[in-house]
Each structure stands twice: as structure tokens, then as C-alpha cells.
């Protein structure tokens, strides 16, 4: 009897050990600014030193499902001015629409912004350290509807303990795309006109409900810092 009791407590210890260790799991909470990713790529056949002028539109283009929504992208002016600042530091001269009639710029830049909202659903069991996660991934760009996805309810059916309390959390990621092309460098492949991207930079991060301005300027600067081949000076 004593042996049986002992053996049973061993089994419970094994389970308890697992649960305790789950609590010991390294806490990886990161701040919103730590979600930022900056990705850049370029066309390596191009010698950027031979280029000097570029055209940059004065607003950021919003990529939206609802094309009748004409509202501006938040911080559009800041984004454009930061890009212009970095391009000038690298020795480029900006040309404006009225100038392009007489002199074609070497490069055309396009800047676009997309937001994606992700909803996750979980069940919280009061006596248990939250293993009942149901991740509901649904990316529906870029309309900010909260889309509900029924994630699986974890291990225990409702009725064990109290039955679960569902909770929802959402977060919105913003993506900024900057692309550079040469208007005269195009090829026709299978009857399609194809323009190679000379340079592309993308920023992605979770949007904070507060101000995102320092992250935007910092990440645009980082995109140029990690692209030293763009320098013409």
C-alpha cells in the first residue's frame, strides 16, 4: 500500500514538474518597438553611382481593399520627408512633377503602406497556466475588421474546473514599402513590360496605439543605413 502511494506520488511529481517548468519558461515579452523588422534588397547589376536624380510622390499610397476610402495614411508627410532626407544624404537630387516634363529622373520611387489586423482567441482556465491557447490567425489585408476565428479550445472540455473563459486580443501590424525603379530600364518578356526593382525596402512592426513616429523615422533611417551601395557621393 505504501509502495503504491509512493509510486502514485512519483507520477504526480512528474506532472507537477512539467507544469512548474512551464512556468519557468523564459518570459519573452517584447515591447512594440522590438517587433520592428527592416528588410532591404537590391539589384546587384546596377551601379548606383551613375544615378543622381529621383522622383518621390508627395503622399504615401495606402493599399486597401476598399478603394473608395481616400483617407490619408497617418504620418504620410513624416514618412516622405524622412525618405527624402536619407536620399539627399546619399547624394540624390529630387525632381518634382513640373520638372519631369523636361528632364526624366533616373529613378522613380513608390511608397505604399498596408495594415493587417490579427485576432487571436484563447481560453483561460483559472486553475491551469493557460495551455488552452487557440491561435486564430486570419490575415485579411488591409481592412481593419476584427475577424473571429474559433481556435481549438485546448485540452479540457468546459466543465472541468469552471469551464473556460474565452478572451480575445488583437494587434495591428503596419508595413511600409519603398521601391525604386528606373523608368527607362524595362524589358518586354512574353508581351509583358517588366521593370526590375533597383532597390526595395520594407518596414514591418506592430503598431502602437500611441505615437509611432520615432519608430518610423528610425526604421527608415535603418533601411538606408543597411543599404550603403545606394550612395552616389
Amino acid at each position: 500500500m505504501k509502495r503504491l502511494f509512493f509510486n502514485l506520488s512519483i507520477a504526480l511529481l512528474a506532472i507537477a514538474g512539467g507544469v512548474i517548468l512551464h512556468g519557468c519558461y523564459p518570459n519573452d515579452a517584447i515591447s512594440v518597438s522590438e517587433t520592428d523588422i527592416v528588410l532591404t534588397g537590391y539589384y546587384d547589376s546596377v551601379d548606383f553611382k551613375t544615378l543622381s536624380t529621383y522622383y518621390l510622390p508627395d503622399t504615401v499610397f495606402p493599399v486597401r481593399d476598399d478603394t473608395t476610402d481616400k483617407s490619408p495614411v497617418p504620418n504620410s508627410d513624416l514618412i516622405i520627408s524622412e525618405i527624402a532626407k536619407n536620399m539627399e544624404a546619399y547624394g540624390y537630387t529630387r525632381v518634382y512633377y513640373s520638372d519631369t516634363v523636361t528632364k526624366e529622373p533616373d529613378l522613380m520611387m513608390a511608397v505604399a503602406a498596408i495594415t493587417v489586423t490579427t485576432v487571436s482567441v484563447g481560453w483561460w482556465y483559472p486553475y491551469y497556466p493557460g495551455w488552452g491557447w487557440g491561435w486564430g490567425w486570419y490575415k485579411k489585408a488591409p481592412r481593419e475588421t476584427k475577424y473571429w476565428y474559433g481556435g481549438y479550445p485546448g485540452y479540457y472540455p468546459p466543465g472541468w474546473g469552471w469551464g473556460g473563459v474565452p478572451y480575445y486580443s488583437t494587434y495591428t501590424t503596419g508595413t511600409l514599402l519603398m521601391e525604386m525603379t528606373n523608368p527607362v530600364d524595362y524589358r518586354v518578356i512574353d508581351n509583358d513590360t517588366v521593370v526590375p526593382l533597383y532597390w526595395a525596402g520594407g518596414l514591418n512592426g506592430v503598431l502602437s496605439s500611441g505615437s509611432n513616429t520615432s519608430r518610423i523615422t528610425g526604421d527608415i533611417d535603418q533601411a538606408f543605413t543597411q543599404s550603403p551601395y545606394l550612395k552616389t557621393n
Partner: protein, 200 residues
């Protein structure tokens, strides 16, 4: 779902170990494990792990030889901070990088105990499988790989009983080696376990 399977396998191994103690006595070991990555593992994570736990059940089949089973869990983690890396010759990425390696060793083992009085030193080896899951995070995105690796774990250790009671203090050093699989690399680390035993 994966964690469910691991939990059930742990319970299974523990139960098997219990059933092997028909007669002859045995030893239960409960240790807190540290892990120090070596070889290819240290290319992935350099920091030592202090998050590990093991349950080991052994039964004496002769006066000196035990056979048993063990289940454990070890977590390796490293925060690399902000990094800028070249994905290929023309693409560069910058982000906040962290890496995890989660390991569940499940093994059968055999040990030889030397019995000079108050100390019980032993050597032995474990054979079985390591379930290893690695996650490489950049911001909120991660690359995940997991596999069941064949593994070997030679071990030396010492069990020191407290007086004439059944309880004992135990310490061991183990070289954990998980073989490479078709899609994932080999992993290896040195484990140091410290804990208590029940000798019966």
C-alpha cells in the same frame, strides 16, 4: 497538441520504470538539470540553460547493475538583441532576435554502481530519443523546426545516502548527444544534474 503527447509519454515511461521494480530494489532520482551547449548546439545558442528537470527510475537487476528509464525537459534560450544579417548577397534584414531550444529526452538506461560504503558512484549510458524544437525569432516572426532525434547519453554520477535513511543526495554529469535527422542538425550539450534520490 505536441505537449499533450510529451506529457503522456513521460507518464508512460515513469509507469514502465515503476513496473520494472518487481524485486531487487532500485533508485529514483529527481534532479534539477543545467545544460551547457557544445558543438553545433553552441552555434545556435551559446548561453547555458538553468531550466531543466529530470525524473529517472532505476531497478537493480544484479547487485551492481541497474536498468531503468528517464524523462526530462530542458529549455535553452538566448536573446541576441538587435541584429542586422545578410540573408543572401543582395538582401539584408534587421530585427530583434531571440532563439529557443526546447528538448525532451526520453530514454532507457543502464548503470553500474560501485559500492564502497557511504558513497555510491556510478557510470552508465542512456539510449533513446530527444524531441527537440528550435525557434528562431525576429520580432514577432519565427522559423520553427522540430524533430525526434536518436540520442545517447553517457553519464557519471554520485549518490550519497543520508545516514541510514532511504533518501540521498545525487549529482551527475551527462554528455547529451542527439543525432542529426534528415531536416535538422545534431545537437549536443553537457548536462549537470543536482537533486535527490530515493533508494530502496
Amino acid at each position: 497538441m505536441k505537449k499533450n503527447k510529451i506529457l503522456l509519454t513521460v507518464i508512460f515511461i515513469v509507469t514502465i520504470s515503476i513496473s520494472s521494480f518487481a524485486q531487487g530494489g532500485g533508485i529514483w532520482n529527481f534532479t534539477w538539470n543545467m545544460g551547457f551547449p557544445v558543438g553545433e548546439s553552441s552555434d545556435f545558442i551559446t548561453q547555458s540553460s538553468f531550466r531543466g528537470f529530470e525524473i529517472d527510475g532505476r531497478g537493480f537487476v544484479t547487485d551492481n547493475l541497474t536498468v531503468g528509464g528517464t524523462a526530462a525537459w530542458q529549455v535553452f534560450y538566448e536573446n541576441f538583441g538587435w541584429v542586422t544579417e545578410d540573408i543572401n548577397e543582395t538582401t539584408t534584414i534587421n530585427g530583434y532576435k531571440r532563439r529557443y531550444m526546447n528538448v525532451v529526452p526520453l530514454m532507457v538506461n543502464a548503470h553500474y554502481y560501485f559500492y564502497p560504503g557511504m558513497l555510491m558512484p556510478y557510470v552508465g549510458i542512456g539510449l533513446g530519443t530527444y524531441y527537440i524544437e528550435t525557434r528562431d525569432f525576429l520580432g514577432i516572426y519565427y522559423v520553427r523546426e522540430d524533430a525526434w532525434h536518436f540520442g545517447l547519453a553517457p553519464e557519471v554520477g554520485l549518490t550519497v545516502p543520508f545516514g541510514s535513511s532511504n533518501a540521498a543526495f545525487t549529482v551527475n554529469v551527462k554528455y547529451n548527444w542527439a543525432a542529426k535527422t534528415k531536416d535538422t542538425k545534431a545537437q549536443s550539450w553537457i548536462g549537470v544534474g543536482v537533486g535527490f534520490s530515493y533508494v530502496f
